[in-house]
């Protein structure tokens, strides 16, 4: 029998429902796994007392969709009374007096919080090594080299992949759920922009950020999304739409669906393994009864530059509030230092180099004289990218299939000292989805020659996550990915 902490959410839910296991047993199994996994650098603030308290409450009764299910939460979410510092030194000691809407909904659905998960500082990165806590290490290895779990939700991905929790919360601004999911062999979904409330999630780039589920399979993502989603009057950009039963949409029947293969995603230098996986994905969906067609998203090449203007622009403004005045860390000041020195010293020592780089880029592209050339042009590109997708969907395409990442997990440290643009290229297949506000999901679909997991991405129509999840479910069944990392930690 599967160890408790290795169960899927659906299986655990059913076992709990039948009284075969208790949430306390399930939670204790996860806490033990967490305790034994410090080498992964996934959990950065552990909340065992709260977890057991919630587990006991779940065992006492209740009817929530996630009753008794232990989850991990990305450090970007504000969790009441629990350290929430977006992996940044500048938020050292910050314990919010409020709970983010998404996590509040999880607890209301009966979920159990195991703790907070590692990430890139302020979600800026693709390797979970830019944060104050140090790097997260991928449970998967090829030889002895420590690999990245991806980023920025690398802690969430590693925790799910290493069976430390049944599911985890991530956020995705340019691929931060899908890329780490792909690199760790799990399933991760970015819902349509506006599907989940952003209230209480530390903002990176407000027009792109979206919370999403990371779990072992598509069904678990559907269950989690159902609990997370919904209109929030506290977030003006959350959409007032009914939340359908996503799990009920999982029939696996995609006969008659049309899947688009965008030719612009075939980039130069794409590894053979990725290309082969993409072709297999295409065949699997065709075998399942879908019609697979080539489509064009002509402005794709401009997506990455536009993203790296818009996201830093918004971030430079969103991160202005971290000034050492009201909360978090304030630099020690010298005699005679004034307010300017307080800002400069606090922000210089509080932010890491990647965050500082993006604040400077964002400040530059918004400044007088450059605004039109960069920010406004990027916004126009964004409109064109959105239109590309609208046109493809208008042609009757139901979902678009692409690789999730241009490579398998890379060694830790390999991008830290490299040209930052190398790191940014990790987002090449995922940023378009954020720019267009669409739902996207990464499904583990194969392994490379070294045995490392690879993911395929499906992109759906806005607010049709049910349909997208069902297509992903069909792909998952066809791919039959069951590999697990060998435990080394």
């Amino acid at each position: 029998m599967t160890a408790l902490n290795e169960m899927t959410i659906a299986a655990a839910r059913d076992a709990l429902g039948r009284g075969e296991i208790t949430s306390v047993e399930l939670t204790e199994a996860c806490l033990a796994a967490v305790e034994g996994a410090d080498a992964l650098g996934a959990f950065v603030h552990k909340t065992p007392d709260r977890a057991l308290e919630q587990a006991r409450a779940a065992d006492a009764g209740g009817a929530g969709a996630l009753r008794g299910i232990p989850l991990g939460i990305k450090d970007l979410f504000c969790t009441s009374g629990v350290a929430s510092q977006a992996a940044s030194r500048i938020l050292e000691g910050f314990r919010p007096a409020y709970e983010s809407t998404v996590t509040r909904k999880l607890w209301e659905a009966g979920a159990v919080m195991l703790g907070k998960l590692n990430m890139d500082e302020f979600a800026m990165g693709s390797s979970t090594e830019t944060g104050v806590y140090g790097a997260t290490v991928n449970p998967w290895r090829a030889g002895d080299t420590a690999l990245t779990a991806g980023g920025s939700s690398g802690g969430s991905a590693a925790a799910v992949a290493a069976d430390l929790c049944l599911g985890a919360m991530g956020t995705d601004t340019g691929g931060s759920i899908r890329q780490p999911a792909a690199l760790t062999g799990i399933t991760g979904m970015k819902p349509t922009y506006g599907r989940c409330s952003r209230w209480g999630i530390v903002a990176f780039a407000s027009s792109l950020d979206q919370a999403g589920p990371m779990a072992r399979d598509v069904r678990d993502c559907a269950i989690l999304l159902g609990a997370m989603a919904g209109h929030d009057p506290l977030d003006s950009t959350s959409v007032d739409m009914a939340v359908p039963d996503f799990e009920a949409a999982l029939t696996g029947d995609i006969r008659g669906k049309t899947i688009g293969i965008p030719r612009e995603y075939r980039v130069d230098g794409m590894p053979e393994a990725i290309d082969a996986l993409w072709s297999r994905g295409r065949e699997m969906l065709a075998d399942a009864g879908a019609r697979v067609v080539d489509v064009s998203l002509p402005h794709t090449a401009h997506a990455l530059p536009a993203y790296y203007v818009i996201a830093p622009a918004e971030a430079s403004s969103n991160l202005a509030r971290y000034d050492g005045v009201r909360y978090g860390r304030r630099a020690a000041l010298d005699q005679g230092d004034g307010i300017t020195e307080m800002y400069e010293k606090t922000r210089a020592e509080g932010f890491g180099p990647e965050v500082r780089r993006r604040i400077m880029i964002g400040t530059y592209v918004l400044s007088a004289g450059f605004y039109d050339a960069y920010y406004n042009r990027a916004r126009r590109v964004r409109t064109l990218i959105k239109r590309d997708f609208e046109e493809v969907f208008a042609q009757g395409v139901d979902a678009i299939l692409t690789p999730t990442t241009p490579s398998a997990a890379f060694p830790l440290g390999s991008v830290a000292h490299a040209d930052p643009v190398e790191m940014y290229l990790n987002d090449v297949f995922t940023v378009t989805v954020n720019l267009a506000g669409l739902p996207g999901i990464s499904v583990p679909a194969g392994q490379d020659a070294a045995g490392l997991p690879l993911g395929l991405q499906l992109i759906g129509r806005p607010f049709e996550e049910g349909d997208l999840l069902n297509t992903a479910y069909a792909l998952e069944r066809a791919a039959g990915f069951v590999a697990k990392p060998a435990r080394w930690w």
């Binding site: 530390v202 918004e314 403004s317 005045v325 400040t363 400044s367 605004y371």
Partner: protein, 504 residues
Amino acid sequence: MLDLTYEPPAPKVIQGARDDWELVIGLEVHAQVASAAKLFSGASTLFGAEPNANVAFVDAGMPGMLPVINEGCVALAVKTGLGLKAAINLTSAFDRKNYFYPDLPQGYQISQLYHPIVGEGEVIVDMAPGIARRVRIERIHLEQDAGKSIHDMDPALSFVDLNRTGVALMEIVSRPDIRGPEEAAAYVLKLRQIMRYLGTCNGDMQNGNLRADVNVSVCRPGDYERYQESGDFAHLGTRCEIKNMNSTRFIQAAIEVEARRQIAILEDGGTVVQETRLFDPDKSETRSMRSKEEAHDYRYFPDPDLLPLEIEQAWVDDIATSLPELPDEKKARFVLDYGMTEYDADVLTAEVENAAYFEQVAQVSGDGKASANWVINELFGQLKKDDRDIGDSPLSAAQLGRIVALIRAGDISGKIAKDLFEIVYLEGGDPEAIVDERGMRQVTDTGAIEAAVDDVIAANPAQVEKARANPKLAGWFVGQVMKATGGKANPAAVNRIVQDRLGL
């Protein structure tokens, strides 16, 4: 048609050492929206609370907090726009204005740079009866106020009070249509009056409820007309902006001082530098805050936390139907309906509460003109002496109305009425009952007056002779009779009987 017609006032001319100069002035007025809650948070806007008592998480710029627009503030901005006969933009949007300061916790102010909620409108600024300036409004946008930094409580520390942070402001931007310091002050007061009528801003300038940034430039006579014809600002001088003034007295003084400073520079052959300046009322000078070269780059961009603000025409129409009568219309109606002077109408309509009080007096008394005199001369005089507002007048409009009605009916004389006014003002009570209880009713009984006249004539034969020779002296007899009757005799009746008995 109730509109009164006006002539524009002459522009103010300042004589420099060599030339005559004219002033060109435009104002940005920041008016605090009279809403109970802030623009993007539910926190209270109540003035005078303990420091940092009215602060929501979003006001304090806590991580992950998001703004949500307060519909009430939008409605009040729309109402203000309608009151200024301005175009309402059904789609507007919020932008972030980025800068660092401890009283700005988010590190940006949410404002409306690119798409304001209210477009072009106008204000008629009355300068004298028949003289008014039409000032065009360019736009009104909604924005957040900042908090307050306090630097003088401790030698080493600064303190921040965030109670005001996030309170809704309307920035009302005028065209450069104002041509003198007095006009600028009158413009601010007129805006204040209109917004107080509308109930959209309390206009309490002392508490920073209404503040103005004033743009001043000078030009030679004729240049302004050339600008008007061509629309080309090149005909006008370089302007300086004097920031953050909260008194009309200072506004006037600052404009005067700044204009003279610019004139002195220009006549010396120098050039005026476009910059932001502060007015120091103690030294009566303006000082540079920062020059354009070191000006902030605010990096405005659309706030991604807020969707464009879409409102419906039907909603605007609903607000339009709820609009009260505004000062210009009310004043015109007072002149035309009550036959009062424009001056009196100005006084009575200055504050909406005064106008309402007057109208009740006029309704109860049935005599508008007399009511206007009594309200302006007697009541306002007394209230001013007692340092009271109309709101806490001890004399109700109904009471004053009945006093005026008693005069109108001939029940009391004007002189007695003043006594009665004082009694009711000080002691309260029903005017009719007081008149009866204290025997103040005017004697209109001809028999009684005739007897009194006869008595006076009989007692003063020498005066009778003089009066017959010089009819102007008949007034002396009237006075004696009034004295004898304790002022209660109807003076008209006394006059008629005296004339009759003296055979004049």
